[in-house]
C-alpha cells in the first residue's frame, strides 16, 4: 500500500471504524481520552491485531516499542499520524 499524507480527521475516522468493526469496542466508549486497555478492554495480545489493522489500513508497520507511550486513544491517533505524515 502506498503511503499518502492523510488528515487527522480521516485517520481518526478510520481507526474508530476498525475498533468498532474488528475489535468489538462499543461506539459510545470511543473518545480521545479513553484508556485503550481499560476503557476499551483491549488486552496486550489485542495490540498484535492492532498492528495488523494499522498495516492494512494505513500501510505502516508498527513494532511493540511504538506502543510504549500509548495509553489513550488520543496517543494512538497521534502515533499513527506521526508515522504516516
Amino acid at each position: 500500500m502506498q503511503l499518502v499524507a492523510m488528515n487527522r480527521e480521516l485517520i481518526v475516522e478510520k481507526i474508530n471504524y476498525f475498533l468498532v468493526d474488528e475489535f468489538e469496542v462499543e461506539k459510545d466508549d470511543i473518545h480521545p481520552s479513553a484508556n485503550l486497555k481499560e476503557t476499551l478492554e483491549l488486552d496486550s495480545l489485542d495490540f498484535v491485531d492492532l498492528v495488523v489493522a494499522v498495516e492494512s489500513n494505513f500501510g505502516v508497520k508498527l513494532k511493540g516499542d511504538d506502543f510504549v507511550n500509548v495509553v489513550t486513544l488520543q496517543d494512538f491517533y497521534n502515533l499513527i499520524e506521526a508515522k504516516i505524515n
Binding site: 488486552d43 495480545l45 498484535v48 495488523v52
Partner: protein
Amino acid sequence: MEKQPKKKYALVTGGSRGIGRAICIQLAKDSGYSILINYNHNEAAALETLKEVENAGTKGEILKFDVANAESVQKTFDGWFQKNENAVIEVVINNAGINKDGLFVWMKSEDWNSVLNTSLNGFYNVTNYLMQQMLVNKYGRIINMVSVSGLKGTAGQVNYSAAKGAVVGATKALAQEIAKRNITVNAVAPGFINSDMTAGLDEKELKKMIPVNRFGEAEEVAHLVSFLASKNASYITGEVININGGIYS
C-alpha cells in the same frame, strides 16, 4: 476480491534425520498439513525425508537454515513468505538440537555456547519470528523437543541439560502468555531413543536402567508429537511430557 483460504503448514526444525524425520512422516500421515522440513547441513537426508512425506500422500518442502543464526532464520522466512503469501504456519516443532558432551570441568566455551545457541536461541529465533502470525491466526501448536537431561540433568551433558531445561521454562511461560489465542505450547522429553545422537551408546548396558528394558524408537516419539500437534490436544498446554520407558518421571 474474495479471500483465498490459507495454505496451512507444519514446520519441523532439524527435520532431516532421526526424531525430526519421524515427526515429519507422522505429521504427513496424520495431520493434513503441508510439511516444511528444515535442515542445516544434510540436504540428501532432507530430500529423503521429503520423499517419505510425499509417499505418505502429503506435500512437503525442504528449507535450509541454521536455527542458531537469527539473521539466517529471518532472511529465509522473509523470502519464503514472499513466495508463499497465502501460507500460515500453524504448527512449529522446535526439534533442531546438537550435543557436545564432555565433563564440565574441561568444557570449552564454544561447546557450551553452540549447544545453547541451537536449542535455546534456536527456539527463540524460529518461534519469535512466527509468533505474530500465529497470534493473528488465533490458532497454533508449538512443540519443543527437550530431553530427560533437561529435567533430571545428565552428567557429561551440563550444556545440553542447561539448554533443554531452559526451553522447559520457556515452554511453561509462553504457554501462559498465548493460551487465550488457542495456541498451545508443550514440551516433549524423550529418554534414550535410537537415533544418530545415541548411536555411540551401549544399549545393552544402558537398557538395564530402563524399566521398559530397551531404547525407544523415533516413531514412538513422533506419535506423541503428532497428537500434541492435533486439534484433539487443545486443552493440553504448558506441559512437559516424558517419553522415556519409565527411566524418570
